[in-house]
Symmetry: C2
Subunit: 429 residues, 2 copies
């Protein structure tokens, strides 16, 4: 990308298409080099970037301080996400080293077998090409997303929130230096350096340069990307997660899983938003659970039968069953049985993460098969639905789609598989 195509400011004459074309072309060219890069080159780059970030603490913190000063007056939670400190910078570097230690997915050949014709066929894992990531104010995503794309042999185009522009530019400088030292093209990771919003539109139209877009952020961002993107999107919209306490649940496990799924953290997409309880076990399990939630300060909204158990439960409206509270609020519904629970999840759920608590093998087997969510669980907290917990090392996002990648998306989700055929002069007859 030529310096002239770049701009740190927005202007009326800004040509977003030309800007993205220059970036896209450089990304496409570097993607070919990245696909050929050896595991040791990629790891050297990751470790080099980690070192650069640690050695550039002052520059990054000073850029971040400027971003934070410019964000004065914005929402407190927003500013907290934007803020970097020594600890967060160390965590960024550590995240890069963790990804360096992950097995290289590229070139992995599986299912190689002989066919009756004598040819061997198998599948080899390859990069997707150019990955675009659009995110909001957290500057650490710049390092995380770059590292995942790079390790999976892709070229990345990153677009962070405009409020984090200077922080991201400081991190981008470390990424370029690390790539360069490892002998990899600096354009393998490009961070958009304009606050002009039209650049996002141009990026979403650039299907000749960008193979997949990953939006990370609030629903309005995701919806915009879904509406405008001319390439495939890896995204998740809602996390309306359920725990269903089945009739044959162990009371202790039910209590532990239901409490943990709600209260371990409120603002995460894998937090339970609705608790379903089978009618026959509700009298045994709900009083102690309601008490625990109230002690934890969770507001409860229940079906009439739940409200009848404890006066601290307020009546739930129809909208509550659809709601992703992301807050200390929980909807509770007593259902007849497993079928009723599966129907409720099908109707109101968001296909993110749903868990059953039961000791009945048949009920567990049916729930695991029939509930069509990206993660389906048996006797485990919904809070486990996470790339780190699943052993992916890191995740670029969580997908609630079924096409290509589903659930937490790690390195593998940023790759594809090609067929390889090995013969010895074999021909088709």
């Amino acid at each position: 990308m030529s310096e002239s195509a770049k701009t740190l400011t927005s202007s009326a004459e800004f040509d977003s298409t030309a800007y993205i074309d220059a970036i896209g072309e450089a990304a496409r060219t570097s993607a070919a080099a990245m696909a050929r890069a050896s595991t040791s080159e990629k790891n050297a780059a990751l470790i080099g970037i980690a070192r650069k970030i640690e050695n550039s603490r002052e520059a990054i913190l000073s850029a971040n301080a400027e971003d934070v000063a410019n964000a004065a007056g914005l929402d407190k939670a927003f500013v907290d996400r934007l803020l970097l400190d020594e600890k967060r910078i160390s965590a960024m570097a550590e995240g890069l080293r963790i990804i360096a230690e992950l097995a290289d997915p590229i070139g992995e050949t599986t299912e190689l077998c002989y066919r009756p014709t004598g040819i061997q066929i198998g599948k080899m894992r390859v990069p997707l090409g150019v990955v675009g990531v659009i995110y909001e104010s957290r500057p650490n995503v710049t390092a995380d997303a770059a590292a995942l794309c790079l390790k999976a042999g892709n070229s990345a185009i990153l677009r962070g929130g405009s409020e984090a522009l200077l922080s991201n530019a400081a991190i981008a400088k470390c990424i370029r230096a690390g790539l360069d030292e490892a002998g990899l093209p600096q354009a393998a990771v490009q961070v958009l350096d304009t606050i002009d919003r039209s650049a996002v539109g141009a990026l979403l139209r650039a299907h000749e340069w960008v193979d997949v877009i990953v939006p990370r952020g609030g629903k309005s961002l995701i919806r915009r990307v879904m509406d405008e993107a001319k390439m495939p999107v890896i995204k998740h919209l809602d996390g309306v997660c359920h725990v269903f306490i089945e009739e044959h649940a162990d009371l202790k496990k039910a209590f532990d899983v239901a409490v943990n799924s709600k209260t371990q953290r409120y603002g995460t997409c894998n937090t339970m938003e609705t608790l379903l309880v089978a009618d026959p076990i509700s009298a045994a399990v709900l009083p102690s659970l309601i008490h625990a939630y109230c002690e934890a300060g969770v507001e409860l909204r229940g079906c009439p039968a739940t409200c009848a158990i404890d006066s601290r439960v307020n009546p739930a409206a129809e909208e509550d069953w659809f709601e992703e509270y992301l807050a200390p609020i929980l909807a509770i519904r007593i259902v007849d049985d497993l079928d009723d629970a599966i129907d409720h999840i099908r109707r109101y759920g968001s296909q993110h993460t749903d868990s059953i608590v039961t000791e009945d093998l048949g009920a567990g087997r049916r729930f695991l098969s029939e509930v069509d969510s990206s993660s389906v669980m048996l006797n485990a907290s919904t809070r486990f639905a996470d790339g780190f917990e699943y052993g992916l090392g890191a995740e670029i996002g969580i997908s609630t789609d079924k096409f290509h990648a589903r659930g937490p998306v790690g390195l593998t989700g940023l790759t594809s598989q090609k067929w390889i055929v090995i013969g010895d002069g074999h021909v088709r007859t």
Copy 2:
């Protein structure tokens, strides 16, 4: 779908959106039932449909005769694809039985392993949901596509060429009867019964009902689907396949693979369209190859160095390297070496199927890794790139995309994987 929403004719007042909405809603409802269907129910339906088709030979042939009569005056090759006879009907039934015998992909659980927290995580294969297939005049695709969608636990909406309307309706009747007898919803396979072209547009917009679209046909159909579809598309555009005879190739294997890749069949997408030969081996391999191609009636278009070898080779123009001839025409180019060949394929290829002939392990290893095509081969004919040859049993199409499915797409390409988590009351700390 209500009968009133159906029409066998086109009319000015035809409401394509309402038509597709009725079909889509029925497809969505039946998809849930199909996802739960047991392997034996699905196989019973497939075998039942095969039997119905055999028992309805007369009705199918008579409907087909009417379609063929209506198509009088159309292109001969077109009418041949439209035509059904006893043999083709038997082949359709046999295809259904082959798919019944394939392993059921749904519910397959893989990679189940323990995490340090004590939970087990794994992946379970699940249907995609509703699959739309848009194809041209071959009526046998109706049975093939229905069978693959059905076995993979999906609901299907099929739109065949309008010239095959009556043939497809006769086959659809057998499919509905087979589904019904097996206790599965008849709406699990719906064949559009209107020739109104606006129905295709409505289908391509119906992302709330259709999870993936598979177009099968000529480039204009594929381009229309790519432009208009509001859901993911599994498609392939071009098959500009290459064979590269590397410097260290065995002459006999090179001859066999190069001849077979071109002459075994001319009109298929996995037929070689350009032959690349390393300069040092060109004098040893090209004269006999050129002779063989000329004997087979293949028109040759070569680079200057190739033309200099044999006067029967005409000069190739730049466009020839991009061309998918689908005909007895072959472009031949002498390249310097492996790098030159890989560059040529990257520049002119269509990422479909490319093969290297060599005895050099290093060259083979590099070609397999670095050529970014859906099938990459070593010492084997490009004609092997096919779902049956790869052991998929059947294919719904070949994908030259990298997202989700690549290369021949069989049952697995019509599925997704969800995560399953099994604990014993495990919570996240």
